[in-house]
Symmetry: C2
Subunit: 142 residues, 2 copies
DNA sequence: TTGCGTGCAAAGGTTTTGCATGGCA
DNA sequence: TGCCATGCAAAACCTTTGCACGCAA
């Protein structure tokens, strides 16, 4: 995770702006591309991928690869510091990202460290599954 | 999850045989294809995908989509009841993927389902962190 | 015989790469 | 000025689909 040392271009600004304003949901390259085009400042697909890669590298954006879906999802992470101390649940249906503060779960860190010699980085770890609303609501897919 | 009602062909037999004999690790379409070709009974890519889909459907094989990886992984599930689920640990330093069978950890599924109403899908969930060797060895790594 | 399985090739979609140009610092 | 970012197009990849033929039951 290295610092963002890149230049500030208008295109990049627009891209990050979009990600920030949609930080409550995940998005993808297609959406970003379509949005930027509709805003009158289209950005080439290749550039979007390149910028996204850097943002992921710098930790500002998280990349999700979800089974059954084509293409990766991206989501802006507001507070990198805070997110280091809790786990994340990602709903496969609605795409919601849940920040889960739970002492019980933090205990698994110790368990795994002790019994399996593996040190988990919670800020990088995401549990995939189905959230309460989606599993209760219906079986319908998005 | 429906029954496997398909025919028994030589190609299918070879494919399943390979999966069974490599049930302790993940594999992918590329590997399967290369192996079958080297064995003198090549199988078309399309057919591999089609058979794999059926095997996943029938529950004999599990499909994994791992963050950052291109292409899906597949793994034969010997005892659907017993080893139906396990988690993965991915080392951020050496990139090693560890398959972790641990009853204790499976308890977190129940905990999260009960207390947070979230149903985890272990087949997509990967714990990121640092493995024993890497954390013991040194702090320098790729 | 019936219908699924297979092969081959082509298509579809996502992501990457190369190269020349343009813009930030 | 030097270097990174961008655009465009082509390429690389993974996966799916169409169609004719072969084989299991």
């Amino acid at each position: 995770m290295k610092r963002d040392t890149g230049y500030n271009t208008k295109q990049k600004e627009k891209l990050v702006d979009y990600l920030v304003r949609n930080k409550e949901k995940h998005t993808n390259v297609q959406e970003i591309s379509a949005y930027l085009a509709s805003e009158g400042s289209p950005l080439g697909t290749a550039t979007i991928y390149r910028q996204l890669d850097k943002l992921v590298e710098s930790g500002l954006v998280r990349k999700f690869v979800i089974d059954g879906k084509m293409g990766a999802c991206y989501q802006y992470i507001e507070n990198t510091e805070e997110c280091r101390e809790h786990f994340h649940l990602k709903c496969l249906k609605c795409g919601k990202l849940i920040h889960l503060n739970c002492d019980h779960l933090m205990g698994i860190n110790e368990h795994i460290a002790e019994h399996h010699g593996f040190i988990i980085d919670p800020s990088q770890t995401v549990f995939y599954g189905v959230c309460a609303e989606c599993s209760a609501g219906s079986d319908e897919q998005v």
